[in-house]
Point group: C2
Chain length 233, copies 2
Amino acid sequence: MQHWRVYAPPGTYLRQANAQLHSDRRSEILDAARRCFSRTGFHQTSMQQICADAGMSPGNVYRYFPSKEAIIAGIAERDRAEVAAQLASAQFTTDFFTSFAALARHHFVERTAEEVGLCAEIMSESRRNPTISKIMNEFDADVKDRLVTMLSSAQARGDISREADIGTAVEMLMVIADGVWWRRAVDPNFNAEAVLPMFLDITKYMLLERGKERELERSADPDRVRAMRAGEE
Amino acid sequence: MQHWRVYAPPGTYLRQANAQLHSDRRSEILDAARRCFSRTGFHQTSMQQICADAGMSPGNVYRYFPSKEAIIAGIAERDRAEVAAQLASAQFTTDFFTSFAALARHHFVERTAEEVGLCAEIMSESRRNPTISKIMNEFDADVKDRLVTMLSSAQARGDISREADIGTAVEMLMVIADGVWWRRAVDPNFNAEAVLPMFLDITKYMLLERGKERELERSADPDRVRAMRAGEE
């Protein structure tokens, strides 16, 4: 990178340093807000508390985010980029269900209690805060689209049944993901790890077996039906 | 019942009328509280609002319930009795999965937006209110026990696979039920009816197919494996 220095116009290093500082500060505020919201609740957390947790003056924090809603939008934007990267990377491996299992473990087990708690707070708040509701529903719609894209390309590659009902399967995956996170958010005895094998089997059922069954129902050829029932197809 | 009147000791009618009035009043307060909590949120609803909605004086309401937590305990107790009756009645029909489908439709689709909203409020509040958390976790443990009992007797009757992992299946059913209710609570476009067939297929998979697969794995007899794979067992 050394040679690049020659071509950098005056002020470049300062602008880069400023941009990095801006990005770091944003990130610090979002992290502080996540801690506060998750611990105290979105509604009960004040901007003052977030400033104190971030170790920044209110004037400084307000320059980045004018409201708690703007902070939630910032967190959603950051999470969305992360989810997008994860789902995109899962498409480029050879064994679809192994990749899917890793994604599921990450989302169900490895995501922190703080992330799970924040999500619970956002969902609750969205019930009577239209701004939060809009952010959350757009986030969900985005994840849903990405899951549909991921499963559709797996279907095109032949990794999942060509008859699988991808739309409903994605809806069900999102329902189960919400349910697992809510269990984690409210029940200290809930063990997400313990339901993971069942979840993966259900996913395979939705994307492989149930598709085959649907195909079977449509098929009028008794020989083919017999062959599929015997698991030879 | 007329002849019974002869044996009734003095004061019986008055006591009966009082007990009925007491029970009606309790019920009215619980209904009013459910409306208020679901609309305004548990945390943001005051006892005064509940009194106003019930059309009763604070003195009168406090005689029945000293706090919002006591009201939630009352609602949980009433719901628990209803769930118990529903699950118990489902055991006495001939076709298990038809009964189960009716239960699922009732719980996913027919329960009102107000009931769903109240549940969301209780779950949220339970995250930092130990009294509510205790009521909710006892309620969940009770439902879980009843589901395990229901499925165990279905297993004893041969309606579900003898190898089905009932504990994990119940855990997953409760995760999905939570997920469906949260979707209903936060997403006006969510259609619980549309995921019902997939949910019922998943349930059958967990209680029939997956059990067979587990049995298959344990089996050392290749003829039996072949016969089961062909769906002849």
